[in-house]
Symmetry: C2
Subunit: 227 residues, 2 copies
DNA sequence: GGTGAATCGGAACGGGCATTCCGTTCCGAT
DNA sequence: ATCGGAACGGAATGCCCGTTCCGATTCACC
């Protein structure tokens, strides 16, 4: 009994949903959360059955929402990039409002929070992916905008050398977060240790003469992961 | 040193081998090389059939020398650690002989060469491994000895802050080499870019007052990967 | 040349996992 | 109270991959 003109999407998500749909919606978020946890813990090779079990649903329910394992991973990635974009904007707001926010600068603060954040590391694409999906592209653009603000601010504040790019920030995210065989707290501490080192290096390079060559361009970075 | 793991004692290896054994020996090194390449390219999930094909032998021949996929990966890891130990000793010799070897210091030079070296990244254990095998333990000790020399030298030269440990070097190796979706040359350039940043940070921390907390201890690091 | 042993390559086996299919359950409307 | 259909859980399916097995091949030695 769908409404006569109902298109492919039902967008009003705020109202109290009818019971059965409510469960579906709840299942969906449960699946996403379970997937995030399971993939973070066991890596890419975790089974769909595992995800389903963690979410407390059957595999069928997982597949109804995400037609394929790759699609599920994709959804996770989009979510991760959106979160990162949100964080970048948030930090940019802070540092632009209070110029003396901290010695780390906006980029450093962003990286630190992203590293210790609950969302987990940004997932990398499954492999030979096609052209990048629209929703990911949009999220990616938002992220870039936020990073642009951070980099501009820090450069003006003199804690970033010329040649440092927004793509550098993404690369650092990758570099600063290899999975370590330690409990989360210890691993985070180690990651922050190296972040601190890099930030010192950045500040030193910014202060003294020794220049840093030009970093990768954003579109190079995005392009390299797709197609 | 051809003996992959251990075997019945037929170790007279120097003389020109009889034809058939020569082929076996050749196959063995071909398999090792193929495995290194295939795993480096396709990651851990590459199939044994792929390895065999790359080596130009049948799967049966691979399994005759390496009873299991994990055993093959193990052999690769041991090889990698041995190479790293050799490199560390070599660089230590250089910097100890010519004190002004370069601004990078011994640790920086070691990291740079290890990153761009042909041996590829150090593989991480398969997962829940048991206690660490004897040959790996020996290679690991050699590596530690070499790193100890490098760290001592650099600290004396004033390019490393107190608190920086040999285990830090290993962690840095992990941090500095995430796989990047770029051709080898470009990826290497990026890795070296971040290595340069870290080294700047290290030098800065060494010069100015701001201390670096104590890094991980070697045995913690080794222990975390096994058992 | 002929023979036995060691090695080879690849077909066959078994298990695990992504994906599909279907009988059951539950909600809302009649 | 009953019915239609949407959502559910999990069994069944098909494929890929690690591993095993075996007949063919090759070489050393006679």
């Amino acid at each position: 009994m769908p409404s006569p003109t109902d298109g492919p999407a039902d967008e009003r998500a705020d109202r109290p949903l009818p019971g059965r749909k409510r469960e579906a919606r709840a299942n969906d978020t449960a699946v996403l959360a379970a997937a995030r946890e399971v993939f973070a813990t066991q890596g890419h090779g975790a089974s769909m059955a595992d995800v389903a079990r963690h979410a407390g649903v059957g595999v069928g329910s997982v597949y109804r929402r995400y037609p394929t394992k790759d699609a599920l991973v994709e959804a996770l990635r989009v979510h991760g990039v959106r979160e990162a974009a949100r964080l970048a904007a948030e930090v940019a707001d802070e540092v632009e409002r209070t110029p003396r926010e901290g010695a780390d600068g906006g980029v450093g603060t962003f990286l630190a929070r992203q590293i210790t954040g609950a969302t987990g590391p940004l997932l990398r694409p499954t492999g030979a992916t096609g052209p990048l999906p629209a929703d990911l592209a949009a999220a990616t653009d938002d992220l870039r905008a936020g990073l642009e603000r951070l980099v501009a601010h820090d450069r003006a504040a003199g804690v970033l050398p010329a040649g440092f790019t927004t793509a550098d920030v993404m690369q650092l995210l990758l570099h600063l977060r290899p999975s370590l065989p330690f409990p989360r707290a210890e691993a985070d501490a180690l990651h922050l240790r190296y972040l601190g080192l890099v930030l010192s290096g950045l500040r030193a390079r910014s202060g003294d003469g020794e220049p840093l060559g030009d970093g990768p361009r954003w579109d190079e970075w995005v392009g390299a992961w797709h197609d």
